[in-house]
């Protein structure tokens, strides 16, 4: 993705003269990244993801004066989206979907997920079976190129947790793909 060349100028226009055209340009530029991020965060609920993305831009507009300029604007939007998602989970009492407290992989659950991941390369389907924090750490790291330190700063999460979520997510995905492959081999032989 090319950089928005006059990003600071656009932000200044919104702050100084409440220029909605300038903000529209910011939304148009970042909408794809934020919606992709939210879709991973809320997978597989696309409608919720778009609601969170819209709320993210609305909050960004309201709190633009709080953007300090340290770190990227995209990172700041990711942070808002993540906290909007947390707020949604708290409101709907779904915080258990955020982390895996047990810390180990349930083989039966993984087998069930693997049967749904028919194509061994279907990363999107496999992702839906991870916990939200695992998905988002992996997505920020691999799809958006953030380092684990940057992820911990953006999400206000200890670095150890980021490392742990990434590792656990990758372990689960490996397991799911391995089982999916075995599953498809058995089906192919039959």
């Amino acid at each position: 993705m090319q950089n928005l060349t006059n990003e600071n100028e656009l932000i200044a226009k919104v702050l100084i003269s409440n220029d909605q055209q300038a903000f529209t340009r910011i939304v148009e530029y970042y909408q794809q990244a934020i919606r992709q991020y939210c879709r991973r965060l809320c997978a597989p609920d696309i409608s919720l993801a778009d609601d969170i993305a819209q709320e993210t831009f609305w909050q960004a507009y309201r709190k633009l004066k709080l953007y300090s300029g340290t770190g990227t604007f995209q990172g700041w939007l990711f942070r808002i989206a993540y906290f909007q998602f947390l707020q949604y989970l708290r409101k709907h009492k779904k915080t258990q979907s955020l982390t895996d407290d047990e810390g180990n992989i349930d083989d039966i659950a993984v087998l069930g997920h693997a049967q749904q991941v028919t194509n061994s390369r279907d990363i999107e389907a496999a992702m839906t079976h991870l916990k939200a924090n695992e998905r988002i750490c992996l997505t920020m790291q691999y799809s958006f190129g953030y380092s684990q330190i940057e992820i911990s700063e953006v999400l206000s999460m200890p670095l150890g947790s980021v490392k742990s979520y990434s590792k656990r997510g990758k372990d689960k995905l490996s397991e799911i793909f391995k089982l999916a492959e075995q599953h498809s081999n058995i089906n192919g032989a039959a």
Binding site: Q20, V27, Q31, R35, Q54, W58, R121, I123
Partner: protein
């Protein structure tokens, strides 16, 4: 076989804007429209409350006092003691309410 790292690094599916940006802008505009409407309603309610609480006779007498005060101010600008003028104004609750309501109306009109 593709490694897991390669799979994870695959570019994410493109998402078309499809009215998303317009909807965000619409939401911002709706917020300002509602805020303006609420402020106008509050101002209107304050004016009605004021009219109900103070009878028209009192209101007219207060308005005549204001005009007298303004005449005095205009005719005696050089001798005017501003502190006295301000204290006179403050000691008139009706004038204070009129000022607040006027300022609220002016503020909401300017914002809209």
């Amino acid at each position: 076989m593709t490694s897991l790292d390669d799979l994870l690094s695959q570019p994410l599916a493109k998402i078309e804007d499809d009215q998303f940006s317009k909807n965000v802008l619409k939401r911002i505009n709706n917020y300002y429209r509602w805020r303006s409407l609420v402020l106008k309603s509050v101002s209107f309610a304050l004016v009605i409350l004021f009219l109900v609480v103070s009878s028209p006779v009192i209101l007219l007498s207060q308005l005549s006092k204001v005009s007298d005060l303004m005449l005095v101010t205009l005719s005696q600008v050089t001798q005017l003691d501003y502190q006295n003028l301000v204290s006179q104004l403050i000691h008139q609750p009706s004038l204070v309410i009129i000022t607040i309501v006027s300022l609220t109306i002016i503020f909401t009109r300017t914002e809209s």
